[in-house]
Amino acid sequence: MNATIIKPAMIYLRTNYVRLIPFLFIFIISIIIGMQVPNFLGQRNLINILNQSSAIGIMAIGMTMVFLVGGIDLSIAANMGFSSIIGAMLMRDGLNPFIACLIMILVSALIGTINGYAVSYLNMIPFVVTLSMMYVTAGASVWITESTSITGLPDSFVDTILTKIWGIPLPVFIMLFLGIVSTIYIKSTIHGRWIYAVGTNITAAGISGIPVKKVKLWAYILAGVFAGLGAILNTARLASASATMGQSVVVLDVASSAVVGGVSIYGGIGTPIMAIIGALLITLISNSMNMLGVSYYFTLVIKGFVIITFIGFDAWLRRRQ
């Protein structure tokens, strides 16, 4: 019985060992930094890293959906920031946190729908549409908050989201849960298969009778939904909302997470769970540089180099295969 499971797994690993590189990177970075900074490998910091990566990881799932159909959503982080603000304002003014959370998801999904409609039904270019949407949502965020932080959120909201199970905050479980569910969705449902097909060859997909436009629209809506989920977690983690949450560097972290996790920006290749691994790697870099006392801007430099090294290594291995 065991052999029947282990054998395919071994075959998978032998042919897909490229997938293991992010893990290897995470391991190596951890060891090196751990030797320099004693606290780095402490339980508290490791949990902190997981917690910090949760919102990026969840948005990376959404980005993966859009990457898989051959698109991109540059507005995903600004979208997250915008609905955080909306949700936070509603809660501050006394709305039930549960309903506020639903509204956050709804607002983000609506923004995703506009993106998706423009891309699939109006044939607009994803890069341009979502870049414009990034301006719109980021601008609106600053405008409605007047550059201030929205605070005074109900404790019930913050406490519920940040509940600890076995000492690990809930957002980590939510991230892993969403990663697994969305990977199952993308790998074993008809919808998921269609998403891969559209990203691999959109003409052939159309001729095969797949509702291509709907599938693309759906991917952008999903990206919006995940942005909304990210908004809930981020708002709770920071116990506030502000326009800086969705600043443009965040979307780069999200996109890099997916790419480092092996999701192809050309469509058709990758899985959400690997994008989460990518998010862990990206967060790990930020966190470790912070622990080393490196300046934020120099951290960006390091991050950029690590990402490009990683992708170069990945390309080199693929070439050899």
Binding site: I190, N201, A204, I207, S208, G209, I269
Partner: protein
């Protein structure tokens, strides 16, 4: 034979799970034209890609002019005087001919190009080959045949001693073919060794002295062309007696069609198309290039917009008016462009087979794909169509053309539509697969499926269809029954063409 100029010894190459080449050896003399023949997937392209430095061999040696050489990249191949004229042209369409030719070898001083000298070199090469082309013309404005001449010229700029042609005639007109053969003759007389890959056997006469036949990665036979009559070559290629698929024309029940097309117009492409398609019928659509054959199929299923006209489709015994997009749901469309419109190249055979019928197969129960049922359906289809794969999880892009085509057809078998549109289903695949695919088409019609079959290979259509409609300049010009002859079809497709031209001018 004199001492060989090019020797390949025991060349082997293995791709994941497939022995592409198995100890292939051959000697080729200086100034000799050798035809490399084999069915799709026999290993011709792999062998030549090794020689051209595009693929690395696993074992074996290559000798040129008595010296062993290592070819690890296309640059190595150039250095050894090997030039490769690819089947698919790789030119830069927005640049002039002269730049396409000189791109890697501009005469220059400190990077500044000497235009006049470049042009001089190009016209010299054109004169040598007897080519008349304007070297300032943009590459994209040339016909495929002329573009190919530029590719050949580029090969000769490097002063090549060995030139490989990979199915060079597949997109050429008769005139362009003759011109190409003359150039190959000229190369031969200048002592250049030519390797000519093809599966069009009619071309060989008068072009090559010797042939090498590959099958399943092995050399099955080689020798003087004179010793190999057409039929023997075909048998060696496919390893068994080939048979021409001729169907007994069935009597078709013509009381009620499955599909009726009334006054179909497509702006600038199709004019006043009327025809019926009956159950179990194979209706051949014949016409020359640009006659609107493909456009007809595409517009019927909504891939191209129609300007006016009506479609009727039989649903529960009644002819119901239907829109092209609705009709699409009842049609299995095998397009001409397999690579870009048919296959999901990087995905597995299994996924390619089931992708069009996921909702029919699994959707009624729940949104999940039942992987065991999928596996089983895939295995059945692979067996039924005799698709050669190592496993259902093999990437479809690694299959040969014939097997890829079977995958596309298999996809629609799982969907089980009433009507099949087959656009050039046997183009560009080997003789053996052609016969197999025609058998499959025959079986479909026996099961009561209606088939609209477009082919530009008139000999392949003959004796196979129940009825023919002939297209010319976007119009249906004539209809023939299954016993039509080549000259009848040819006349219908060409004569009206000229008549029409007179009217329109």
């Amino acid at each position: 034979m004199k001492s060989p100029f090019l020797s390949l010894k025991d060349i082997s190459k293995r791709f994941t799970g497939v022995q592409a080449l198995d100890h292939v050896s051959m000697d080729i003399g200086k100034g000799e034209v050798v035809a490399l023949i084999g069915a799709n997937g026999a290993g011709k392209s792999t062998l030549m890609n090794i020689l051209g430095g595009i693929v690395q061999k696993d074992s074996g040696t290559i000798w040129i002019n008595g010296k062993q050489v290592e070819i690890k990249s296309p640059i190595d191949a150039f250095a050894n005087g090997i030039a490769f004229v690819h089947q698919e042209l790789t030119s830069l369409n927005t640049l002039p001919v002269v730049d396409n030719l000189m791109l890697t070898s501009y005469p220059n001083t400190l990077g500044i190009i000497h235009d006049r000298q470049s042009q001089k070199q190009v016209s010299e090469i054109f004169t040598r080959l007897g080519i008349e082309l304007n070297y300032n013309e943009k590459m994209g404005n040339l016909s495929p045949g002329d573009q190919q001449l530029v590719e050949i010229s580029r090969a000769l700029l490097q002063d090549s001693r060995i030139v490989i042609f990979d199915e060079p005639t597949s997109s050429l007109s008769k005139y362009e073919k003759d011109r190409l053969f003359k150039i190959i003759d000229g190369l031969k007389n200048n002592g250049v060794t030519v390797i000519y890959i093809t599966h069009l056997l009619d071309e060989l006469q008068g072009l090559c002295e010797r042939i090498v036949i590959l099958r399943n990665g092995q050399v099955v036979n080689l020798g003087n062309l004179a010793d190999f009559p057409h039929k023997r070559i075909v048998n060696e290629m496919i390893g068994e007696e080939s048979e021409r698929v001729v169907r007994q024309n069935k009597s078709i029940n013509k009381s009620e069609p499955v599909l009726r097309v009334n006054n179909l117009y497509c702006r600038g492409v199709l004019k006043n198309i009327n025809f019926d398609l009956y159950q179990g019928e194979i209706l051949g659509v014949w016409g020359l290039m640009g006659s609107g054959r493909t456009e007809l199929l595409r517009s019927l299923v909504g891939l191209d917009p129609i300007s006016s006209g009506e479609l009727f489709y039989r649903q529960s015994g009644k002819m119901v008016k239907i829109s092209p997009l609705e009709l699409n749901k009842h049609v299995g469309f095998v397009t001409e462009d397999r690579r870009n419109e048919g296959l999901f190249q990087t995905m597995s055979v299994k996924i390619n087979l089931t992708i069009a019928s996921l909702t029919n197969l699994f959707g009624k129960v729940k949104p999940f794909i039942n992987s065991r049922k999928e596996e089983q359906l895939t295995t059945e289809t692979i067996r039924k169509l005799q698709i050669k794969v190592t496993s259902a999880n093999q990437t479809v892009g690694t299959l040969s053309g014939g097997n890829q085509q079977k995958v596309v057809i298999g996809r629609w078998l799982l969907r089980d539509p009433d009507i099949f549109f087959l656009d050039e289903p046997i183009k560009g695949i080997d003789v053996g697969s052609k016969a197999e695919i025609k058998k499959i088409i025959g079986l479909l019609s026996e099961q009561g499926k209606s088939i609209l079959l477009v082919s530009s290979e008139i000999d392949e259509l003959l004796g196979f269809c129940d009825r023919y409609i002939v297209m010319c300049r976007g119009q249906l010009t004539r209809e023939y029954m299954g016993n039509a002859t080549t000259s009848q079809l040819m006349d219908a497709a060409t004569s009206v063409r000229s008549a029409n031209r007179e009217v329109s001018v």
